[in-house]
């Protein structure tokens, strides 16, 4: 199980990084989504996929009876999902706004903040 999940994580990373290397913002954003999901799966796998038993301890015991599922990675992933979802929503709006305002989604042509034809400071006066 862990092997299959690890390979999936690797594929997600490959696809995500490939997309992030694009010049176009929308592909970069899709790459970021894949990247984020790869990390979530990675944390899930890192917590070991050993058992389907829920981690509930009976009232008179210190420890659960047998092996149980690990709840902590799921808590971590839930947090990460909420955060990456809100980030992605913001980035989508920002990219759309940039496309409207700057008229392009090609990062090579987004040079408003760093104009290509800027003079160096004067050498004297």
């Amino acid at each position: 199980m862990e092997t299959a999940l690890s390979l999936t994580v690797g594929l997600f990373f490959i696809a995500g990084i490939y997309l992030m290397l694009s010049k176009h913002i929308i592909r970069v954003l899709l790459g970021i989504v894949l990247f984020g999901n790869a990390v979530n799966l990675l944390i899930f796998t890192a917590g070991r996929v050993a058992s389907k038993t829920p981690p509930i301890i009976s009232e008179s015991a210190y420890l659960p009876a047998g092996a149980t599922a690990n709840p902590l990675p799921q808590a971590l992933i839930l947090t990460a999902i909420v955060i990456s979802f809100s980030f992605f929503a913001f980035l989508l709006v920002l990219a759309y706004r940039a496309y409207n305002d700057l008229g392009t989604d090609d990062t090579g042509r987004m040079r408003l903040a760093e104009p290509e034809s800027e003079n160096p400071p004067p050498m004297g006066y």
Binding site: I32, L94, D101, L102, P120
Partner: protein
């Protein structure tokens, strides 16, 4: 050790039974107060008239709490508070040690002063967009990052201040800010995702993310775990946050685009959090890997310093120039991490405190130069020495401070770092620090020459854009200059605090004992 039926379970084995001492609540005060202030400001978002006053009050209270926390931590060592009653490493701990308390105090002072400047800089439209809620929530994230004792929680606080910084970045009406925000947002998101990847692996190896617990378990792992991979991932992720070469191109692309007070806050605080995280993870948790990476960090530091300051020499926009100088300062701090002994680390920490104050002041100064001279560009600015003599005095003192000349605060951290590099046998690193200082002096000397001393040419377009520099801006500049000058003229308490913080990183036994009171390593 299953209990027999009928016996009462001793909850003390898993749960904190004693309530937290009221004084220990101080640990979370620098986070909770700005968070509550931010929530209040969101609720009152239509009352633009009172937003500034509420934010100032909240941030002033934060300074008081951060100062009390710093005083207590200096006197009695690390203070810990664990959330949700679960014993660490299961409950999330907030742990204030000397380093975290020192940086959170400095950050809260910088945040308050920036808020003071913003009263005249942020107009009604900016307030309606939510400048003050974003500002206070970002300060909550910054405080949380400095005080948390858990790696995943550190990731959460990173995201809190990053998303608030996105909000701050897009407040305004200039199209360049959208361009800058796209690059800042995407590259910062990738950096925090790399941080999360490393954290996932860290959890897979150790089964814990509590920093004190990680420190205890590191020795037992030996060579089977891929620790070098982990350390390198953290170096890339936090290096990106700290704006270290070659992953720093988002900073010059974005830091000059928003409102000047936003640039000031970002420049003062955000890169230093990346550096803090590097110190915490590489020095306290993975010292062996830091030692192995030390030559690489040294080269990164040298490249960051030199390319940063060369970039500054090539800019005619003052804001962009300050951004590049900020980058070269990151290189100076990284050189302390590369040396890695008590002296090098205390130099890096001292420089972080200096850089928080002085870089914020430099951005505010750029805003005041724009007010007094009508432009940010060195091509257009002239005659400010006549028109704004007080501003000229402030600019000169700040130029000395950032270049590392007396009486500025940059002198002492550079002395400590140069000496530490020489003692560690890295003379070339010391030489790079000194050359960077010289080139910074040239860059700021030129600002003085062109913007202040050059004779005033009549330029009606420029004259139209001039306005009176508000008194509040001078107050903010002086409030930042005062601690910087104090550090330059009487460095003893600052150096002692930095040494104390570095010692806490290198020998974190008191920190671990505070997180796990009375329990031996498993």
């Amino acid at each position: 050790m299953a209990a027999t039926g009928g016996t009462a379970i001793d909850l003390a084995a898993a749960i904190i039974t004693a309530p937290t001492a009221p004084a220990d609540w101080l640990v979370i005060a620098p986070v909770v107060i700005p968070l509550l202030t931010g929530a209040l400001l969101v609720a009152l978002r239509h009352r633009t008239g009172v937003q500034g006053a509420i934010a100032l009050a909240g941030l002033a209270l934060t300074i008081v709490c951060a100062a009390l926390l710093f005083a207590r931590v200096s006197a009695q060592g690390p203070i810990v508070m664990t959330m949700g009653r679960w014993l660490p490493p299961f409950g999330i701990s907030f742990a204030a040690d000397a380093l975290g308390a020192l940086l959170s105090l400095t950050a809260s002072i910088v945040g308050f002063i920036a808020a003071l400047y913003s009263l005249r800089d942020i107009d009604i439209a900016g307030r309606r967009y939510g400048f003050y809620p974003f500002l206070t929530l970002m300060m909550a994230g910054v405080g949380g990052a400095f005080l948390t004792g858990d790696v995943f929680n550190l990731y959460v606080w990173f995201e809190v201040f990053v998303i608030s910084s996105f909000g701050l970045l897009v407040v305004g009406d200039d199209e360049a800010r959208i361009d800058g925000a796209v690059k800042y947002a995407i590259l910062n998101l990738i950096a925090t995702t790399l941080f999360l990847i490393a954290t996932g692996y860290l959890y897979g190896v150790f089964g814990t993310l509590n920093m004190a617990d990680l420190h205890r378990k590191m020795a037992a792992v030996g060579s089977e775990a891929p620790m070098m991979t982990l350390a390198t991932l953290y170096l890339v992720a936090f290096g990106m946050k700290a704006a270290a070469f070659p992953v720093n191109f988002w900073l010059p692309a974005s830091y000059h685009t928003p409102k000047i007070v936003t640039s000031a806050l970002f420049g003062g605080l955000l890169t230093k959090i990346g550096l803090y995280a590097l110190l915490r993870v590489l020095v306290m948790i993975m010292p062996a890997e830091r030692l192995a990476l030390s030559p690489l960090i040294g080269w990164i530091a040298a490249a960051t310093m030199l390319l940063g300051v060369l970039g500054a020499l090539a800019q005619s926009d003052i804001r962009r120039m300050v951004g590049f100088v900020l980058i070269s300062g990151v290189g100076v701090m990284l050189s302390g991490l590369a040396v890695g002994d008590a002296a090098g680390l205390s130099g890096a920490i001292l420089y972080a405190v200096h850089s928080m104050l002085v870089v914020t002041a430099l951005y505010l100064l750029a805003g005041m130069i724009r007010d007094a001279g009508g432009s940010f560009s060195l091509e257009a600015l002239a005659g400010l020495y006549d028109r704004a003599p007080v501003l000229a005095a402030g600019a000169l003192l700040l130029a000395f401070a950032i270049a590392g000349l007396p009486p500025g605060s940059g002198l002492w951290p550079k002395i400590v770092l140069v000496r530490a590099s020489l003692d560690a046998g890295a003379g070339w690193l010391a030489a790079v620090i000194l050359v960077t200082g010289l080139l910074t002096t040239v860059a700021f000397g030129r600002v003085f020459l062109l913007a202040f001393w050059r004779e005033n040419a009549d330029n009606p377009a420029l004259a139209e854009r001039r306005r009176k520099v508000p008194h509040l801006a001078f107050a903010a500049l002086i409030a930042l200059l005062a601690p910087s000058l104090a550090m330059g003229l009487y460095p003893e308490p600052f150096v002692a605090a930095a040494k104390n913080a570095a010692a806490g990183l290198l020998e974190p036994t008191p920190y671990v004992d505070a997180v796990f009171p009375g329990r031996a390593a498993p």
